[in-house]
Every structure is written in C-alpha cells, then in structure tokens.
C-alpha cells in the first residue's frame, strides 16, 4: 500500500505537464483568496484547472483566462445551496476531476477556517478535502476504472479562506507534518489578479448594492466600479501583514511529506 502510494506520488510528480486543480464554490472565491498564487504557477508553466461547484458564468471564465488558466468547469449547483445537496455526490464529482487532471497541487476552501460566513465555501471545502483524500483510494468509485480514470494522489494541498480569523496564523498543534500556515508572495502577479477580479462585474455590482444597503447611502461615482480591485489589494495587504512581502496570499498548506504515513517518516 505504502509502496504503491509512493510510486503514485512519484508518477504524478514526474508527469510531463504540471497540473493544478482549484476547487471553488463560486467564481470569485478561488480568485480572491488564491488567484495570485495560481497565476504565478500558471506563469511558470502549470496547467491550472478550476472546478466551480455552483454555475460559473462567462465573466468567471474570462477572469480565469486572464489569470492564465487552462479551463473552468462548473458542477452547476445552485448558489447558496451547497448545504442542501448530497455531500457525497459533490465529493465524487470532484474526485472525477482530480482523476481526470491528475494535479500535483489542489486548492480548495478551508472547511476548518473560523469566521467564514460563506457556507457554500464550507461545503465545497469539506467535499474537496474528502475528494483529495478519496481520489487516491482504489476502491472508491469503481466505475471510474471502466473509463480509465485511475486513483490519484495529490501531493500538495492548499486550503484557502478569507483572512477573517485573527488567530488563523497560529497553526494547529502537533507534529511537524500536519498542515501549517503558509504565506505566498504575490507581488509579481498582483496587477494580473486585480485585472482578473475587475472582470467579475456581476459579483462586483452585487457587492456594490450590498454595501449601499449596509451604509444606507450611495457609493461615490467611481467607487462602485473598483470594489473588486480594492478587495484584491486589501486582501494582498492583509495577508502580507507581519511578513517581508508587499502583497501576499495565505493558506494552510500540506505538502508532500504530509502524504507519507508517520511510521515511514521516522529516521
């Protein structure tokens, strides 16, 4: 079993093209919280695929294209309703994408993050975390074997979330290989991210209406049209706080070593 696992990992690491899979609840989530890191990976030659649990739009696809990504696929569930669907179906559809793309790294919403009001993110994140694990299990979804979708071990996991929890960087207790906080410098791709986020016109006008309701007044002239640019810059700054970076994204990260059972990590 372990030998097989290591071989599978070696195979995915040595694959000709490095594929990266980003799971997102809706078109803006992965972009806001992980878009810069993914854009940098695409710049270095990775084929980035996005799986959108709800129905992503043409705008979302245009934004993904602007970030240099290969493709965006929608699972088509209704926005705001991921809590009301079969978690197993959602998981297994993500397993399908993992086995199809054979990613070296997977990005998904952190279902363990606190103070995230996006419950679609919670459910997409739970399904994706389970999928990243179960995609490697030979006995799960045996019908996949019929269409030559082999089990796949994804060596690197990036959990992303809105930086809302003041204690998010404290990490979890435990041995060194449990998932740990990781901050990524995105200064080189910040403007690409800003530009891509600015293509999300529908989400941006929804946020503008939402802010106007909350403030009980109108946004000044140009402000409504640059809300997503402001969001991206604000996120980059928040995540860079306390680091040497000017612009950053932050994750909980589980790398290659995380996949190796503890017993085989002893000297």
């Amino acid at each position: 079993m372990v030998l097989w696992l290591l071989l599978a990992m070696a195979a995915s690491l040595g694959a000709q093209e490095r594929a990266v899979l980003a799971v997102t609840a809706e078109g803006e989530d992965y972009l806001l919280y992980a878009g810069g890191t993914l854009a940098a990976m695409a710049k270095e030659g990775a084929a980035v695929y996005v799986v959108c649990a709800t129905a992503c739009s043409g705008e979302d696809e245009a934004a993904a294209k602007a970030l240099g990504f290969r493709r965006m696929d929608s699972l088509g569930y209704r926005r705001g309703n991921l809590a009301g669907i079969s978690p197993t179906e959602l998981r297994d559809r993500i397993v399908f994408h993992i086995r199809l793309r054979k990613p070296a790294a997977i990005f998904f919403p952190n279902p363990h993050a606190e103070y995230d009001e996006g419950f679609d993110r919670l459910h997409a994140g739970m399904a994706a975390e389970e999928a990243a694990f179960t995609a490697a299990q030979r006995n799960l979804q045996p019908s996949h074997a019929v269409v030559d979708l082999a089990p796949h071990v994804t060596p690197e996991w990036y959990f992303y979330a809105p930086p809302a929890d003041p204690r998010r960087r404290q990490g979890e207790a435990g041995e060194p290989f449990v998932p740990q906080p990781k901050v990524v410098d995105i200064a080189a791709v910040l403007e690409v991210k800003v530009k891509a986020a600015s293509l999300l016109r529908t989400a941006e006008s929804r946020l503008a209406a939402e802010l106007e309701r909350r403030m009980n007044r109108s946004l000044p002239g140009q402000a409504a049209g640059r809300l997503y640019a402001e969001r991206v810059r604000g996120l980059a700054k928040l995540s860079a706080a306390g680091t040497a970076y000017r612009a950053a994204e932050e994750f909980v990260y589980a790398g290659v070593a995380f996949q190796i059972p503890a017993a085989y990590r002893q000297p």
Binding site: A83, Y115, E117, F119, P163, R206, R213, R214, L219, G234
Partner: protein, 305 residues
C-alpha cells in the same frame, strides 16, 4: 449578597486575556435565536446583555428552535408545555416580549436539513430587520449539544442569505428586501477548553445580574434544584458552618438564592478580568466583519467598519 463557597472549578486553569470593553450600538430590535428554552440564561450569556439592551430601549424577541420536550422530568407532552410557560416567564423577566418557536424536535435537529432551519430564520430576519442577532457561536468548538451546533451555523448562514438578492426571492413578493444584520453577538459554553474565543467584554449592572440570576431558576422544571440546597446545607453543617443568607428559607427558596449567588459570582469573575464589577464576554461581529479587506476602503468613505 455574596458567597465565597459554592464555586465549581469551572474557571480553574484557564488563561484569560483582558478584552476591550464594548458598548452595544443604539438600535430598536434584537433577535436572540437559541436552540432551547433555557439557552438565553446561562452564566456565559446572553441574559445580562439582553437586560442591558432592553434598558437602553431595545425590543427583543426570543426565537427558540425546538420544543424542549426531552428536557425535564415530565413526559414529552408535559415538558413541552411546562418549558414553554417557564421560558415565557424567564424572557419577560429580562424584558423580552415574546417567544417564537420553530417547532423542531429537541436533540433531533442533526437530522433536520440545515437549509430548512436557515430558511425559517431568513424570513424572520427580513421581516423584523433586527439591529442585533445573538446566538451560540457558529464557529465555536467543543459544544457537545447537536442542537447548539446546528442552530448556530444556521443563524450565521441565515445572516448571509438574508442579505443576498438571489436567496429566497419569493420573500420579495411580500415587500421584504435583502437585509444585512449589522451586529452579531455569539456566546459559547466554556466549561471544557477553548469552546469559544471571545473578542469583547460587555459591562452589565448589578440589576442586570440580578435579573440574570432570576431568569436562570425561573426555568424551574430543569434548573431549580432544592435537593442541591439541602445537600449544601447538610455538608456545611457537618463542618460546623452555615450561610446566614439562606437560614430559615425552604430548600426551594435557598436553591433560588444559591443559584442567583452563583450567577453573581460568575459575572463578578468575568468583570474582574476586564476591570469592571460585572461583565459578560462575547464574540462580536460588526457590520463589515465579513469584509476585513474592505475596512481601509470604507474608512476612506467615512464609514467606520
């Protein structure tokens, strides 16, 4: 009235930070949404804050998820009726107006779809437009009660969904609109570990504390424990001690006074941590808590996030 004895080791060993003293915002209406009849009156919340809000002019409704038929020594039917009657009395003691029951079964909400509970709460929020919503902590840890976990998450999700134009659009036929609850106060039982990590302390007065103590035992069916008072007195008598304040009282009355004293002690302990006489601790989320990255931008518009 103060008692030095009578403290379970609830607070022992935990390290507590001093939190900023928080002034609740002015407003008209709050919803306290809880799983059970008695969840408004625990030592950790929300009775003191409720009394303070009512005193400052708020109207408050108590929304109860379940019928509490399992809680108490009676049959299901008896508990249902008695607990409802007692919670009406207890919430009125704090100044809230009424109890809105959502009619789910006690300790069985794990099997109720999250979206079913959320939908009910969204409608209440959009109709009542509360300035404040209070509940259990949606991201709290170590709450062993399934109804607490279920309800808290449904509340947080309902706050999001109520604000969205594409969620439950059928409500708009009634003239309702998307509405964002500006202020949220969450509490969590903290009797084993890091159940909750509050970020503010709210000062409460001696009068609020007294109301809190009374609302606690007004849930007589599940809380008032004359046998406890009898045991305390018997144990003290063996050591040659007694409590003058409960001398000559019936066991039932003694239990009321002891429970009030316990609540007073807890509020005083929390107050001492934060430099005031009495306090409660909350996880508070303000009007723009979900958009931390926009705070600087909002300040630029003259909005305090």
């Amino acid at each position: 009235m103060r008692f030095r004895m009578f403290l379970p080791a609830l607070l022992a060993g935990a390290a507590f930070a001093q939190l900023p003293l928080h002034t609740p915002p002015p407003g008209k209406l709050f919803l306290l949404i809880q799983p059970h009849h008695d969840d408004h009156s625990w030592a950790y919340g929300h009775a003191g804050l409720v009394a303070r809000l009512v005193e400052s002019g708020y109207t408050g409704h108590y929304v109860r998820l379940t019928n509490d038929e399992k809680d108490g020594s009676g049959t299901w039917a008896q508990n249902d009726i008695v607990n409802h009657r007692e919670t009406v009395e207890a919430i009125r003691n704090l100044g809230m107006t009424d109890v809105i029951s959502l009619n789910w079964r006690n300790d069985h909400t794990d099997s109720v779809p999250h979206v079913d509970i959320r939908a009910q709460i969204v409608l209440l929020i959009r109709k009542m437009l509360p300035d404040i919503v209070m509940s259990y902590h949606p991201w709290g840890h170590y709450d062993r009660n399934p109804d607490h976990r279920k309800l808290a998450r449904a509340v947080a999700d309902a706050i999001w969904a109520a604000s969205q134009e594409d969620q439950y659009p059928e409500h708009f036929a009634l003239g309702l609109k998307p509405y964002r609850v500006p202020h949220q106060y969450y509490s969590q039982r903290n009797d084993y570990g890091r159940g909750s990590r509050p970020n503010v302390a709210v000062e409460i007065s001696a009068e609020h504390v007294a109301k809190k103590g009374r609302s606690f035992w007004l849930h007589r069916n599940v809380r008032l424990d004359p046998a406890m008072a009898r045991r305390v007195r018997e144990r003290l008598a063996k050591e040659g001690k007694h409590i003058p304040q409960i001398e000559g009282l019936s066991d039932e009355e003694a239990a009321m006074r002891l429970q009030e004293a316990s609540m007073e002690y807890r509020a005083r302990q929390v107050g001492a941590r934060h430099g005031v006489r009495y306090a409660e601790e909350y996880s508070y989320r303000g009007p723009y808590a979900d958009l931390p990255e926009m705070h600087e931008f909002l300040r630029g518009l003259g909005v305090t996030p």
